[in-house]
Symmetry: none
Subunit: 429 residues, 2 copies
């Protein structure tokens, strides 16, 4: 089945609101094995809408609309689609009563204009909306279906889950299963070099998406049912695991910080953070994970040199000679954080996030990241060229989290140099 997502609303065309409905519906349709080749947004304009609906009916079997079901005169999705589907709208007393009750419950009387929301198609049907006054509507004509949903996400989403999804699933015999591999520590082009040949496959398909500081690979299988789809994705995923190994830190919706917290829990380890250029981003990410308190108790945001010395015991001499942005200071920050907090693992970041503050020797985007466990200190030198302050900070934070993950799981730490906690960590440049 081929579908199109049609979002109606001038506020979308003006960019006044973010179109989260399109993403929600796209995800949901994919999960039902319904292929979406087009998404579009039109304003509350009858002729343009009608023109596009007729086009979409040529191309696709299912049209999913969001918005334009309100009580006001410029809400005309239902009227326009009814005309395109050769259906007529009639007043449904049950809905009218619900709308009146809805207003009564909020201590207001129903404006006359709301009656319009009680109109339903004669041949099509409607879906009860518990969270608003506009019911969902469906039309059918010669194998083509249209589903109309109210624009507010807090009405559209429950209506979809409770009513529309089961209604559509019943029509589907085929299932689309997806598996996402989450990779960090290597860039998109280099992932391409390693596994590029695996992206040329009919079923399952595999596609690569670059994110800040990580790369995702989505494997999608078309199968007779979800279980078979999962088997196919799993088998194909093994090919990626064979080539990318532990650069794959997790699957599907598991974030890097969740993977870190899980790894630490599994090993019964705790972590402390010492952050300069990231200013608390790493501790903030770790504590995004509910239950992080099991593995995390102390975070040091030592933005000033004085803080690095006072809170973490970084040598003032080092700060004065080699400077805060150095492998030496990074390493003392990490060991200091672990020592003061009593944590098993310490991670630290010190660098130049920009846009200012860069020099020839220490350009914007240069970040030293250290991670220590017991007597071992690993230091990485990260250079994020030509990127925004936020990108530099995010890439550095994710690298630090990956080093923590690898240290917790006893995995190798590529592109780092190992020192003993007692020696001064000097990276050759």
């Amino acid at each position: 089945m081929k579908a199109e997502i049609i979002c109606v609303g001038t506020e979308l065309l003006l960019g006044d609101i973010l179109n989260t409905n399109a993403q929600f519906l796209a995800k949901e349709l994919a999960a039902l094995g319904i292929t979406v080749h087009h998404q579009w947004v039109v304003g509350d304009n009858e002729s343009r809408l009608a023109e596009l609906v007729q086009q979409a009916m040529q191309r696709s079997d299912l049209l999913v609309f969001s918005g334009g079901l309100g009580p006001t005169a410029d809400d005309l999705t239902k009227e326009t689609v009814a005309r395109c589907f050769g259906d007529t709208l009639v007043l449904e007393p049950e809905i009218l009563q619900q709308i009146q009750q809805y207003y009564a419950s909020t201590g207001r009387h129903m404006p006359q204009s709301n009656e319009k929301q009680a109109l339903i198609p004669q041949q099509g049907g409607w879906f009860d909306n518990k969270n608003g006054t506009a019911p969902g509507i469906w039309f059918y004509r010669q194998g083509k279906r249209a589903v109309l949903l109210p624009g507010p996400p807090n009405e559209l989403c429950p209506l979809w889950h409770e009513k529309v999804k089961p209604w559509l699933a019943a029509e589907q015999n085929q299932a689309l299963y997806s598996l996402v591999l989450r990779i960090t520590g290597i860039g998109e082009s280099h992932v391409e070099e390693l596994v590029g040949h695996l992206f040329e496959n009919a079923n399952p398909t595999a596609a690569i998406y670059a994110k800040t500081g990580e790369v995702h690979i989505r494997i999608t299988a078309m199968a007779e049912n979800q279980q078979r789809g999962e088997e196919m994705c799993r088998a194909y995923a093994e090919k990626f695991y064979a080539l990318l190994g532990n650069a794959i830190y997790a699957e599907n919706d598991c974030t890097l910080q969740q993977a870190v917290v899980e790894s630490l829990k599994k090993q019964g380890l705790t972590i402390a953070t010492a952050e300069s250029c990231t200013g608390g981003l790493v501790s903030q990410m770790i504590t995004q994970v509910a239950g992080a308190s099991e593995v995390f108790g102390f975070g040091f945001c030592t933005y000033a040199n004085q803080a690095k010395h006072k809170l973490l015991g970084v040598s003032t001499e080092l700060l004065d000679t080699v400077g805060a942005v150095s492998s030496q200071v990074a390493s003392q920050m990490a060991t200091g954080a672990a020592k003061v907090s009593g944590a098993d693992i310490g991670v630290s970041l010190t660098g130049i996030a920009g846009p200012g503050g860069g020099t020839e020797q220490k350009p914007v985007g240069l970040v030293y990241i250290a991670a220590c466990k017991g007597d071992d200190v690993y230091v990485a030198k990260l250079l994020v060229g030509n990127r925004s302050r936020e990108t530099v900070r995010t890439c550095a934070a994710k690298r630090a989290l990956d080093m923590a993950r690898r240290l917790a799981l006893g995995l190798p730490l590529p592109h780092t140099k190992k020192f003993s906690a007692t020696e001064i960590a000097v990276l050759e440049e």
Copy 2:
């Protein structure tokens, strides 16, 4: 001028990512007085893309594309649009060199596939992209224009502002001017009550947008030129200032954290943070602002009680009796942070972000926020009901930042109780 926004990417069709580019471009085009009647999302599919481009060229004068300019084989926006505009692509040595330098700056070699990104149209032109390897591209044919931009927002947005916008503005005679008022500390419905009547106006128009922990009001004037538009917006904004006063913390793109850093700089003050439930979110937000080091040096992420005591000197007795989530502990965290760091202002947060950990007396969403300056400590009790962990954390962080802003500027701190640093801060429940 009529425009269409065309976003290319299978990840959008699958709902893997939220289409923020469409909103950004829609807003920007509106601001240039360019009418957008259609927004599209299509996958990386040449024939479907070509079909849409030909349709769009019938209807509209300007086609703005995002995505599909990457180095991989399935990135084919440029190639497809070139064909539709009857243009041919040639290798631009200058861009190739930039891409090679870009890779060199990150200590890597350029994969062969990236050469593709150095192809530019023979009749059209290109826009230099400082934040990535894909330049912006433009095509022209018989009064129709196409602008192609890279998909990553951190590349698309600066490229738009620095290169594309001026290029397009030059073509426009009419101007749409917008002014955004940024409000925090009061909820959307309360703002509605105060200024709701001002949203019924033809020109300038005013619209309200609820954000997490803040509210934005966008005033938009249509005028013969930008200057006149600005005058109209400014005059209308005064009506809002008269009613909302210092709840308006800044205008346009100035974030709350920028406003805080600016306020502190202006007053020559410094700030320190002590965070429990927000885990470094506040320090992370402050250090998002370039140059924050002038006003911020120390952040304490005291997630564990032990950390609150050890780093900030919070009384273990209080932690054992009234517990970490209390006005007393919040106040000791704030004063401790100021004392240890020597900062003029200390802000602290301690609460229950959820989803777990709530009790009848201390439900999920309860956060105590304290801010101190000199001998004065102000404590606020925030209760964010039925929200996600992230929403609770963000609302609390913004409240803390607003308290810091008000303390720095000597403004009143509504809905807080004032204590002396020497007394135990007990809020009546």
